[in-house]
């Protein structure tokens, strides 16, 4: 079977988040306006950004009424800093979900990555790069394993990655019981340095989001991810090596998780066995992905949406912090927000489907 896509996968008539590249002729537009146009399309296709603006607005009102200052620089720092960890892993999770899969093992992988990374670095500058490479390799290996179990053994991704989570958990608990290793100065300062109110680490998040987002939307591989996630049968019939695509998606997801672990190690100064689970990154990242408009079944959505959702969650966190509200109340509010957002997306999709197929109510 050749690796080329002979026919574009049909997908559903409603928007699958994938614009036809041919529609915008690059010949007549300047590059700058093309970039602007693409950015605008990205934001338009992901209503979560509108919601972000709304939530920032409401947050500002509520905090000011409470007597605080919402737009203080410390707050901006707080929001951005709190987005980095969840943001990086959520970007990876986006790819896995777009490909029609899922990864529940990320929080243990994050803990493991922080431990492996910090232990290898051992406080020495010279070991920084080897440690990072090794940790990312471990992440890739876990992703490869996940992908193989899902594709070759045909195990449902929920179970496959749940099983992997348990395997990683057993390994971690058996070998580590306390903060381990130490990161060298330069890596630690990465987690703490700020340019004014902007933490330097936000650029890591932005970089990862840009690279992954661009890969998804501008490369053939990205196209394949959407195809496989949208309809696997059709993709197979079109000649796609669907297994490879899913495995690659899992590798990307796990590498992102490993990167998150490395980042957290820079914040904590060492690796710890519980940093991943304390942050609840498995369910949180899935929540961020669907909040950003990506369909849980796969095939629809964008990284831009996930980024917006992560910021929304960070702003919510920050507002609750400012108001000193009970963290349990915040959790309940989060649950409502997630369900509400996905319900809204589902209604929009249903509406567009009805319009497209002519089944809209008269």
């Amino acid at each position: 079977m050749s690796d080329t896509v002979r026919d574009a996968p049909t997908g559903s008539p409603s928007s699958n988040g994938l614009e036809d590249p041919g529609a915008r002729s690059g010949a007549t537009r300047g590059r700058a306006s093309a970039i602007v146009g693409r950015t605008r399309d990205a934001f338009a296709a992901t209503p979560i950004w509108a919601a972000l603006v709304g939530i920032v607005g409401i947050g500002w009102v509520v905090v000011t009424l409470d007597g605080g200052t919402f737009f203080a620089s410390g707050n901006l720092t707080n929001i951005l800093q709190r987005s980095v960890a969840l943001g990086i892993v959520a970007v990876g999770q986006t790819v896995a979900i777009l490909a029609g899969s899922l990864d529940l093992s990320v929080s243990y992988l994050i803990s493991l990555a922080s431990l492996v990374g910090a232990e290898t670095m051992d406080g020495r500058e010279s070991m920084l790069v080897p440690a990072i490479l090794l940790t990312l390799a471990v992440g890739a290996a876990v992703g490869l394993a996940n992908g193989l179990v899902v594709t070759k053994l045909r195990v449902n991704p929920f179970i496959a990655t749940l099983g992997m989570a348990l395997i990683l958990r057993g390994y971690i608990e058996n070998n580590y019981d306390r903060p381990t290793g130490s990161v060298p100065e330069s890596w630690e300062s990465f987690g703490y340095t700020r340019m004014g109110p902007i933490p330097v680490s936000i650029f890591l998040f932005a970089g990862v989001a840009l690279i992954v987002g661009t890969t998804l939307r501008r490369t053939r591989f990205g196209y394949h991810v959407y195809a496989v996630g949208g309809d696997e049968q059709v993709s197979v019939l079109s000649g796609l090596r669907t297994h490879r695509v899913v495995i690659a998606a899992h590798v990307i997801c796990s590498v992102c998780a490993a990167l998150t672990g490395l980042f957290l190690a820079s914040r904590l100064g060492s690796g710890t066995p519980r940093v991943g689970t304390d942050g609840g990154y498995d369910l949180e990242s899935i929540a961020a992905v669907v909040l950003g408009g990506t369909a849980l079944a796969g095939g629809r959505g964008r990284v831009a949406g996930t980024v917006g959702a992560v910021l929304v969650l960070a702003v919510l966190d920050n507002v609750f912090n400012q108001l000193e509200l009970d963290p349990f109340l915040k959790q309940a509010v989060r649950g409502v927000v997630i369900i509400a957002a996905v319900a809204v997306y589902a209604q929009r999709r249903k509406g567009r489907q009805q319009v497209a197929t002519g089944t809209a109510a008269a």
Binding site: S73, G74, T77, L153, R274, V275, D278
Partner: protein, 396 residues
């Protein structure tokens, strides 16, 4: 068909591998006893352990603290005072900030309620700002960064983890505001004062010594622990392990219950089935002590000597069933002290650099003083809150 057999084979192999693995784990635990040694993690072998610290703590138990005898949260054992004149802000109107690791367990909940009541007792504290880190190191680091930018006059920190919160605390100290750390510590001397009761080694030893007296040499004791890797709990276990080793007590196991009552009960029942009988139970915290006791009751056995903590439900059961027990404590009244320290510092008064509070244990004799059936089962008797305004309603 072949693939099916292969997968079934993997599953069986995994099961066997798991079953045979305890042999390899024994090399980590007490290395001398190669055969049926129980697989015990951490404790004396962990890198947390410090003989020096343990000896210091055991000695502190016998020392007379300075300060009012009826207010143990204001007492200090062998204090070395530091000057705080540079932080003095006469006139009150202070903003005191607190970065709380979490309020996710009853001990912290009782403590936090007590702390808030203490803050309310001091009119000079105009604002008491609290950020809850929800048991996440990363969030607490961000919280501390956030608080240092909010113009606090004093910062109190209860760190979620010792090592990882150290850089954030150092950053906070560097801004010049007085930092007060309590409960778990950090690996830096920059805070003005570090408040804690005597410590985990003493806690574990109190319980272990009691069991040694009651059980005798050769007795079989099961140790129940909450989680590995928490320094305040590791020290408790290490302290107990040393006492047990010195006195010939056989530790048949050290299991992690994750603080869950059903888990605790199942583990104890399994051990009873495995060992035939148990002569004593050592616990590193008392939250699931009643579940452990019930495990014996359900099997129709007498409850052996057991160590718990100062939760009301354990004290009540101890009293009603006339058990042989002891309750070492990690007093929640330590939550009052940081606020008192903040007030002293902002008044320019001296405070102890290492503020070690007394750490009483509840015995058969003193049990009636601490029993209070009015309060809920997870209320901690050593809260130092019984005379405070709003008691008992605010704590129920």
């Amino acid at each position: 068909m072949r693939k099916r057999r292969w997968i079934a084979g993997i599953a069986a192999a995994a099961l066997l591998a798991g079953a045979c693995s305890d042999d390899s784990d024994d090399t980590e635990a007490s290395g001398d006893d190669g055969e049926e040694a129980a697989d015990i993690q951490g404790g004396l072998d962990s890198e947390f352990f410090s003989q020096e610290e343990m000896d210091a703590q055991l000695a502190m138990r016998d020392m007379e603290p300075e300060g009012p005898a009826d207010k143990p949260w204001e007492q200090a054992i062998q204090p070395t005072y530091v000057d705080t004149a540079q932080y003095a802000q006469p006139g009150g109107g202070w903003k005191v900030c607190f970065s709380n690791a979490a309020t996710d367990n009853p001990w912290r909940q009782v403590g936090f309620t007590t702390m808030q009541a203490e803050a309310a007792l001091h009119p000079e504290i105009a604002e008491f700002t609290v950020l809850d880190a929800e048991a996440s190191d990363d969030k607490q680091i961000s919280d501390i960064e956030s608080l240092t930018g909010q113009g606090c006059d004093a910062l109190i920190v209860s760190p979620n983890t010792t090592a990882t919160l150290t850089p954030a605390v150092e950053e906070a100290c560097a801004t010049g505001i007085p930092v007060i750390v309590f409960d778990r510590g950090v690996n830096t001397d920059c805070p003005v004062t570090f408040i804690k009761p005597i410590g985990g080694y003493a806690f574990g030893a109190d319980a272990a010594e009691f069991l040694v007296d009651e059980v005798g040499e050769g007795g079989k004791v099961l140790a129940l622990r909450i989680l590995p890797g928490v320094d305040v709990l590791e020290t408790r276990f290490a302290g107990a392990q040393q006492i047990f080793e010195e006195n010939g007590i056989e530790l048949v196991g050290a299991e992690f219950t994750e603080g869950d009552a059903a888990n605790t009960k199942s583990i104890v029942s399994d051990y009873i089935a495995r060992e035939g009988e148990l002569d004593g139970i050592w616990m590193d915290a008392g939250a699931t002590a009643v579940a452990a006791i019930e495990a014996f009751e359900d099997e129709g056995l007498d409850v052996p000597p057991i160590s718990g903590e100062d939760q009301q439900d354990f004290l009540q059961k101890w009293n009603d069933d006339e058990l042989t027990a002891v309750a070492p404590t990690y007093p929640t009244y330590q939550w009052r002290t940081p606020v008192i320290a903040a007030v002293k510092i902002l008044n320019g008064e001296q405070v102890p650099e290492a503020w070690n509070l007394p750490q009483p244990k509840i015995t058969e004799e003193t049990l009636p003083d601490y029993l209070n059936p009015e309060m809920g089962p997870l209320f901690y008797a050593l809260c130092g809150c019984q005379e405070m305004p709003g008691f008992p309603e605010n704590w129920q």
